[in-house]
C-alpha cells in the first residue's frame, strides 16, 4: 500500500485542515431500492469483531516468563553484590550485601515509623491513623463524645465509637480477616530478642494463649512501653501487651 510521500510530512506538520468541501445532497440519494446512509458504528464488549485483537492481547499476557530490560527505570536483575554494609538507622543492625534488598528493608521497616514509639507501619496512612489514635491526647478526649475511630480502608469514611466497633465493621463490611494485623515489634537496641519474635509469630498462627479480640486491627502491634493512664479499653489492651513480654 503506497502512501503519498507528503503524508509523513503532513503528520509532522502543524494541526489544522483544509476548508471542508460544501455538502449538497440530492433527496434521491439512498432512496429505494437503495438504502445507504452514513452510520456511526459501535461494538459492545463481547462482540466477535474484537476476537482477533483480544486474542493478540492475551497471547501477549501469556507469552512471557520474565520482564525484559527495555524501558523500566532499572534493569531486572538482583543488584550487584556489594561489600557488606549495615543499615544506618539507629537501633537497626541488619546487614546487607545487595542494594535492592536494602531498599525493600528500608521501605518496609524504616519509612513509616512512628517517632513516638518507633513502630513501623506498611503505609503512611496506617502510620497517621496510629499516631492519631495512640499519641494524640486530644483524640482520647474527643473519643469520649464522638465517633473517632476511622475505618482503615481507604475511601471508606465510616467512623466508630470504639476500636472494637471498627473491627467489626472491617470484618462484616470489608470482609477483613478477624485477626488482621501487621507484626512489626519495636526494634530494641542490639539483636532482636528471639523470644519476642516467636511470641509475635505464635499469635499470627492463632496461638490462643492471648485472646486476639481487641488486639487485631488496633493500629499498633507490640506495645512495649507502659502507656499513660488511658481509660477503659486501652488500659486493658496495654495490660495484655505487658504480660506478653
Amino acid at each position: 500500500m503506497q502512501l503519498p510521500p507528503a503524508l509523513h510530512a503532513r503528520l509532522a506538520g502543524a494541526p489544522g485542515s483544509a476548508e471542508p468541501l460544501p455538502v449538497e445532497r440530492d433527496p434521491a440519494a439512498g432512496t429505494t431500492p437503495f438504502s445507504f446512509a452514513p452510520r456511526l458504528v459501535r461494538f459492545p464488549r463481547e462482540h466477535d469483531f474484537f476476537e482477533d485483537g483480544d486474542v493478540q492481547r492475551h497471547l501477549y499476557l501469556q507469552d512471557v516468563l520474565t520482564q525484559v530490560g527495555g524501558a523500566p527505570e532499572r534493569p531486572r536483575r538482583p543488584s550487584a553484590r556489594v561489600p557488606e554494609f549495615t543499615c544506618q538507622v539507629a537501633g537497626c543492625c541488619q546487614v546487607f550485601d545487595a542494594l535492592e534488598d536494602y531498599e525493600h528493608h528500608y521501605h518496609a521497616l524504616h519509612r513509616n515509623v512512628c517517632s513516638f514509639c518507633k513502630r513501623a507501619f506498611p503505609s503512611g496512612h496506617l502510620l497517621d491513623t496510629h499516631i492519631l489514635e495512640w499519641h494524640d491526647s486530644l483524640f482520647q478526649i474527643l473519643a469520649e463524645r464522638q465517633d473517632m475511630y476511622q475505618c482503615l480502608v481507604e475511601g471508606c469514611t465510616e467512623k466508630f465509637r470504639t476500636s472494637r466497633d471498627r473491627k467489626e465493621h472491617l470484618v462484616m463490611r470489608h470482609l477483613y480477616p478477624a485477626d488482621f494485623r501487621f507484626d512489626k515489634p519495636r526494634r530494641s537496641r542490639g539483636p532482636a530478642v528471639p523470644g519476642a519474635a516467636e511470641q509475635v509469630l505464635a499469635e499470627a498462627l492463632g496461638d490462643d494463649r492471648v485472646p486476639s479480640e481487641g488486639d487485631a486491627m488496633e493500629v499498633c502491634s507490640e506495645h512495649v512501653e507502659p502507656s499513660p493512664e488511658p481509660a477503659g479499653e486501652r488500659r486493658a489492651y496495654s495490660h495484655r501487651c505487658l504480660t506478653r513480654i
Partner: protein, 489 residues
C-alpha cells in the same frame, strides 16, 4: 514492557516450527475461550536473573514433611539466611502444581505464609510474597482461592513504598482477580479500587505497568459493567489513566498498553462514556494516535500494535457518543493529521498485523460518516488510492467511500476519474452479495452526483458486470435501477 524471552538466555528446547505450532495451538485455545466468554490469562513474574542463578536446579516436588520443615525453618530459624533460604526452597517447589496442591492441603500453611508476609523481616516478606505469587498463577482454582486470606494485606501494602514488593503484590492481585467472581466479591469490599487509585500515583514504571495489568483484569470481568466500572469511574483512576496515556517523552509503552486496554474495557461497556469525554479522553487518544503513527515510522519497535489496537477501539467507540458531537469543535477532531496518522497506521498494520485492519477501517468509518471535514481530508491528502488498495480486506472501504460520495457533487468530483471505476468493476465481479451491494450503493451516488460517471461505466462494460447479479434477490432491484440510470440518465 513484557516481551518474548530472548532465546539466548535459555537453551531452545524445541525447534522454530514447534514454537510456531505451539503458538497456533495457544491461539486456537484462546479463540475458543473467548467464544465461551472464558478468556482468562495470568502473568507470572519470575526474576530473570534468579532463574539464571538457579539454572540446573529443577523445581522439586515436595511432600508434606518437607513443606512443614521449610515453614518451620522460615518461622523459627535463628539465622536470617537460613530462614530466607527455607522460603526460597519452598518458593521453587511451589513452581510445581503437585507441591502447590500439597501445600494448600497442609493445615496452617497459608496462615504461616501470611504471617511471614506480614513479618518484621523485609526479605522474608518478599520471599513469602513470591510464594503467594506462584500460587496465584496456578490453573487450579483451589490453589488460587487458598490465597484469599492474604488479600487484605496485599491491598494494604499497595500504599507502601517498596516498588519491587508493590509490583509483586499487584501481579499477584491481578492473577487472583481474574480467577473467579468469588474472589472479586471479596476484593471489592476490601477496597481494591481506592487502593489502586492511591497506588497509581507511584512514579515507578514497573509499578504502573503492574497496576495497569491488575486493573485491566478487574475491568475485563463479566460483571464489571454493573459492579466494578461505576466505582472505577467514580474514583480518580480515569484521570490518572488519561495522564499516563499523554504522548510525550514520559510515555512508556508497557504502561500505556495496559492502561489503553483498561480504557477499552471501560468504554466498550458503555457505562458512562460522556464522563470520560469531559475528562478529555478524545483529545488524549487523538494525540496518542498521532504519536503512535510517528513512532511506527521511526522504530521497528515490537509491540506498537499492542497499543494501536485498544487506541483504535477507544476512539471508534467514543466517536459514537452524543457527547463527542459537543466536543467536535476541539481541534483534534477536525485535524487532518488524524486521518494521515490513521493511514500510516493502516500501512503498518498491513505489514505487522493484518487481522487488525478491520479495526482501523472501523475508525475511518466513524471519522468520516458525519464529517465533511474528514471526508475532505481524505480527498485532499490523496488517500483514495491507498484506500482502494484495502478493498480486498474489508467492505468497510466501500462504506467509507460511500460516506464521502454521499456528501454531494463537490466530493464525487474529487473521486473521479481515477482508479475508482476499475476498482468498482472488480468488486462487481465478486460473488459476495454484501460487497456487491455496497458497490451498487456507491454507484448510485456516483451516477447521481458525477456527470459522466454513468457514461464511463457503460464504456467499461459496466452493464455486463451488472448482469451477473440480475437474478440475485438482495441485489436485483438495485441492479435494475442502475441499469436504467446508466442507459437513460
Amino acid at each position: 514492557m513484557w516481551s518474548r524471552q530472548r532465546g539466548g538466555l535459555k537453551p531452545l528446547r524445541c525447534g522454530v516450527e514447534q514454537l510456531r505450532c505451539r503458538r497456533r495451538e495457544r491461539e486456537a485455545a484462546l479463540r475458543k475461550a473467548r467464544r465461551e466468554q472464558q478468556l482468562v490469562s495470568k502473568r507470572l513474574l519470575r526474576d530473570e536473573a534468579l532463574e539464571e542463578a538457579e539454572e540446573g536446579c529443577v523445581a522439586m516436588i515436595f511432600g508434606e514433611a518437607e513443606i512443614q520443615q521449610f515453614l518451620r525453618l522460615a518461622q523459627r530459624g535463628t539465622e536470617e539466611k537460613e530462614r530466607e533460604g527455607a522460603l526460597v526452597s519452598l518458593r521453587r517447589g511451589l513452581q510445581r502444581p503437585e507441591t502447590q496442591q500439597t501445600f494448600i492441603r497442609l493445615e496452617g500453611s497459608i496462615r504461616t505464609l501470611v504471617g511471614l508476609l506480614t513479618s518484621n523481616q523485609a526479605l522474608l516478606q518478599l520471599e513469602a510474597a513470591r510464594c503467594l505469587h506462584e500460587l496465584s498463577h496456578s490453573e487450579q482454582s483451589a490453589v488460587v482461592e487458598a490465597c484469599l486470606p492474604a488479600t487484605s494485606y496485599l491491598l494494604t501494602y499497595l500504599s507502601g513504598h517498596s516498588s519491587d514488593f508493590i509490583e509483586l503484590c499487584l501481579y499477584t492481585l491481578g492473577n487472583l482477580i481474574v480467577e473467579s467472581e468469588a474472589v472479586r466479591r471479596q476484593l471489592l469490599p476490601q477496597g481494591i479500587v481506592p487502593a489502586l487509585a492511591a497506588c497509581i500515583q507511584s512514579p515507578h514504571l514497573t509499578v504502573l505497568e503492574a497496576l495497569g495489568y491488575a486493573l485491566s483484569q478487574l475491568l475485563q470481568a463479566k460483571e464489571a459493567p454493573e459492579k466494578i466500572i461505576p466505582s472505577v469511574l467514580g474514583s480518580t483512576l480515569p484521570q490518572h489513566m488519561l495522564q499516563l496515556l499523554q504522548p510525550g517523552p514520559k510515555l512508556n509503552l508497557g504502561v500505556a498498553v495496559e492502561f489503553a486496554w483498561c480504557l477499552h474495557y471501560i468504554i466498550c461497556s458503555q457505562v458512562n462514556n460522556a464522563l470520560l469525554i469531559t475528562q478529555g479522553a478524545l483529545s488524549t487518544l487523538g494525540l496518542l494516535l498521532l504519536d503512535l503513527a510517528g513512532a511506527v515510522q521511526r522504530t521497528e519497535d515490537a509491540g506498537l500494535e499492542l497499543l494501536a489496537c485498544p487506541v483504535l477501539r477507544c476512539l471508534s467507540n467514543l466517536l459514537t457518543e452524543a457527547a463527542a458531537e459537543a466536543v467536535g469543535g476541539q481541534l483534534q477532531l477536525r485535524d487532518e493529521r488524524v486521518v494521515a496518522a490513521l493511514f500510516i497506521l493502516l500501512q503498518f498494520l498491513l505489514q505487522k498485523q493484518p487481522s487488525l485492519l478491520p479495526e482501523g477501517l472501523w475508525l475511518l468509518n466513524n471519522l468520516t460518516a458525519n464529517s465533511p471535514s474528514f471526508c475532505t481530508s481524505l480527498l485532499s491528502l490523496d488517500l483514495i488510492e491507498p484506500l482502494l488498495h484495502l478493498l480486498s480486506v474489508s467492505n468497510v472501504v466501500l462504506t467509507v467511500l460511500c460516506n464521502v460520495a454521499e456528501k454531494g457533487p463537490a466530493y464525487c468530483q474529487r473521486l473521479w476519474p481515477g482508479p475508482l471505476l476499475s476498482s468498482l468493476l472488480d468488486t462487481l465481479a465478486f460473488s459476495d452479495t454484501e460487497v456487491v451491494g455496497q458497490s451498487l450503493e456507491l454507484l448510485q451516488l456516483l451516477f447521481l452526483y458525477q456527470p459522466g460517471a454513468a457514461q464511463a461505466f457503460l464504456q467499461q462494460s459496466g452493464l455486463q458486470a451488472l448482469q451477473r447479479h440480475e437474478e440475485v434477490a438482495q441485489l436485483q432491484d438495485r441492479v435494475h435501477a442502475l441499469q436504467q440510470t446508466a442507459l437513460h440518465g
